[in-house]
């Protein structure tokens, strides 16, 4: 049997950036493992048959085999890098999940404390404290000795570390011969102002710069915002309470601010897991395909719509319709109360990852298209349907990745406010190596792209 084991696909590393990114990334691994019935704290393979099974289910794309600790058992370990300037969040994950993040310190990259909510400081410190000091190529190689075909980066866009580290990392990934062929997907989270602990004007500057880098270096830039994550988390509070989160396993006295974000992070994790299902399971889709889908799109950005938000029901597509009826669905980006989705742009498109049991019939495909078109004016030919198999007992789900022009309009006010704020803050940014010319160029690029 071992001789006939399928070849492992090329791996995808999840590089979790900053405090929010580390929490969401770790949650995403847990979500994926829970979905397929593996032990999310210490997943392992116990025999060749099971090894084959795990490869069939989702390969070793996002996991790798670890060092065997018990006879006959092979642990599987996330191909995850937990990167932050402040080591607390990564430390906590490593301490709470010693068997999951079994490569211990090799999972973590950290610097000498926060970036002061200053994107430029974060970028310069990534270069100094992470890229040079830690020998990044060697670290990536230790997480994934095989050539990497993709990176997934969850992060918050309004703080100092997440957005700047992600920007610097994806620039690095696309500028180095060893990592350049890899597809880069980003999950950037826009803060909810007045709620999240961010400073408005610098956060706007950070958003603009991070958008500019994503436009340039990310192949699949996915955006979510905390306003909708919070609203959806509140709406699905009862259902989410039944799911287990990494936050529940953390020592109570040191939850580093994640407790309030428990349900929001679970939803974000679901979105990432849904996206990953399009290429880690047996599908007719590769992660690199997103690159071509979005290459000529303006805006290039994608927003997720989850149906259901919290898995429920059986593995047939019918359970998705039931979730719709129950209100167990949500778009994770605020398109605005006055947004009229029926008045779409001709170039709007969608990629729908359908996780369900068995084959997708023509009738079911029509149902999927109708679900999308009831909410968004997108032509049949602009809807890509990707069928992903559901594991026995796993609830069916749709992850709809929407590429709609309306997203750009929602982002432009941040660009305008960042530009207004620049003169007041430029001293702080210029000190950390971000010139006025670079900032203004980013404003031009982002506005030209989004407007």
């Amino acid at each position: 049997m071992a001789k006939q084991a399928p070849l492992a696909p090329n791996p995808v590393i999840m590089a979790c950036m900053g405090h929010a990114g580390v929490g969401i990334g770790a949650e995403a691994y847990r979500w994926v493992l829970t979905d397929i019935g593996a032990d999310p704290k210490a997943p392992s393979l116990k025999g060749e048959k099971e090894q084959l099974e795990i490869l069939r289910k989702y390969g070793t794309t996002i996991m790798r085999f670890g060092t065997s600790l018990r006879k006959g058992e092979v642990p599987i370990v996330p191909r995850a890098l937990l990167v932050d300037l402040d080591p607390r969040s990564a430390n906590l994950i490593l301490q709470a999940y010693p068997e999951l993040f079994a490569m211990r310190d090799r999972h973590a990259l950290y610097g000498l404390g926060g970036a002061a909510r200053n994107w430029a400081e974060g970028r310069s410190r990534f270069r100094g404290e992470i890229e040079e000091k830690h020998d990044l190529p060697a670290r990536l190689n230790s997480i994934s000795p095989e050539p990497v075909r993709g990176f997934i980066l969850p992060f918050s866009m309004g703080g100092g570390t997440g957005g700047s580290f992600s920007s610097a990392f994806i620039e690095y990934a696309k500028s180095n011969a060893s990592t350049n062929p890899a597809t880069v997907a980003t999950f950037g989270i826009i803060p909810e102002f007045g709620w999240d602990p961010v400073i408005y004007e610098p956060a706007c500057i950070s958003i603009v710069l991070t958008l500019a880098y994503q436009m340039k270096y990310a192949d699949a830039p996915i955006l979510m915002d905390n306003k909708m994550l919070r609203a959806n988390a509140e709406k699905q509070k009862a259902r989410l309470a039944k799911r287990v989160s990494i936050v529940d396993d953390l020592p109570k006295q040191i939850q580093v601010g994640w407790k309030e974000y428990r349900n929001m992070n679970l939803i974000s994790a679901h979105a990432i897991a849904g996206f990953m299902n399009s290429f880690i399971r047996e599908t007719e889709w590769d992660m690199s395909n997103y690159r071509t889908w979005l290459a000529a799109q303006k805006p290039k950005f994608v927003i997720p719509w989850l149906i259901p938000l919290v898995p429920q029901g059986g593995s047939e597509l019918k359970s998705v319709l039931d979730a719709m009826k129950d209100g167990n669905e949500g778009i994770l980006f605020d398109l605005g109360e006055d947004h009229d989705a029926s008045n779409g742009n001709p170039k709007d498109s969608a990629c729908v990852i359908v996780k369900s049991k068995g084959l997708l019939t023509a009738e079911e495909r029509a149902t999927v298209r109708k679900i999308v078109q009831d909410r968004f004016k997108i032509e049949d030919r602009k809807i890509i349907i990707i069928k992903a198999p559901a594991v026995e007992g796993e609830a069916a789900a749709l992850t709809v990745l929407l590429n709609v022009k309306a997203v750009g309009e929602r982002l432009l006010p941040y660009v305008a406010d960042a530009e207004d704020a620049w003169d007041s803050y430029k001293g702080e940014y210029e000190k950390k190596g971000l010139s006025k010319t670079d900032f203004k160029q980013a404003v031009l690029d982002v506005t030209g792209h989004l407007a």
């Binding site: 432009l412 006010p413 305008a416 404003v443 031009l444």
Partner: protein, 186 residues
């Protein structure tokens, strides 16, 4: 709107801005004098009393201050209107940049001269100021100077496309100013 019209508006704006600076400087001096006035008036009154002549407040300083404030308001209005016209002009989809249709090959790229060898120093200067950049303006692979526009593209058709794209970016970015001013009204 044509770039030559914007050049006229930009010239007017620059002139008026200079005038505004001068008024601000004069007003600053007069305000300083005005603050000193009570002290001086007190001394003056005592002196006039000593020499036996009735003291009269000429009111010259307050009249001068009022006149300067009035001038400032008027000039500021002209400046605001001119700036508004420039923002609308540069963000308009109908902006005409009168370039020669046939670019000249220069090293690896292409050079576009303005028609009739015109130059637009004030318009370009004010555009740079609106964008927070310096002259020459560099928008991706396009360099916009007062007397020419240079694209790095070696193919003339692609060079023209680069110029169109650069002005499209400019138009959208300057339009952010309109968005900002609309927001600040509320």
């Amino acid at each position: 709107m044509n770039l030559s019209e914007l050049e006229v508006i930009a010239s007017e704006l620059i002139e008026q801005e200079k005038m505004l600076d001068q008024i601000d400087s004069d007003l600053e001096f007069v305000e300083g004098e005005f603050k000193q006035q009570p002290k001086r008036t007190g001394r003056d009154k005592k002196f006039y009393s000593l020499i036996g002549i009735e003291w009269k407040d000429s009111g010259e300083l307050s009249q001068r201050r009022a006149a300067l404030r009035d001038d400032k308001r008027k000039v500021q209005q002209i400046v605001d209107e001119a700036r508004d016209k420039l923002v609308k002009g540069f963000s308009s989809g109908e902006l005409v940049v009168p370039l020669d249709p046939d670019p000249v090959r220069e090293e690896e790229g292409h050079l576009f001269k303005y028609r009739a060898n015109a130059s637009y120093p004030k318009a370009v200067q004010e555009l740079a100021s609106l964008l927070g950049m310096s002259v020459p303006l560099r928008i991706d692979e396009v360099e916009i100077s007062p007397d020419r526009i240079r694209a790095t593209e070696s193919d003339p058709y692609l060079a023209k496309e680069e110029v169109v794209n650069a002005f499209d970016k400019i138009r959208k970015t300057v339009a952010l100013k309109l968005r900002g001013s609309r927001r600040s009204q509320f």
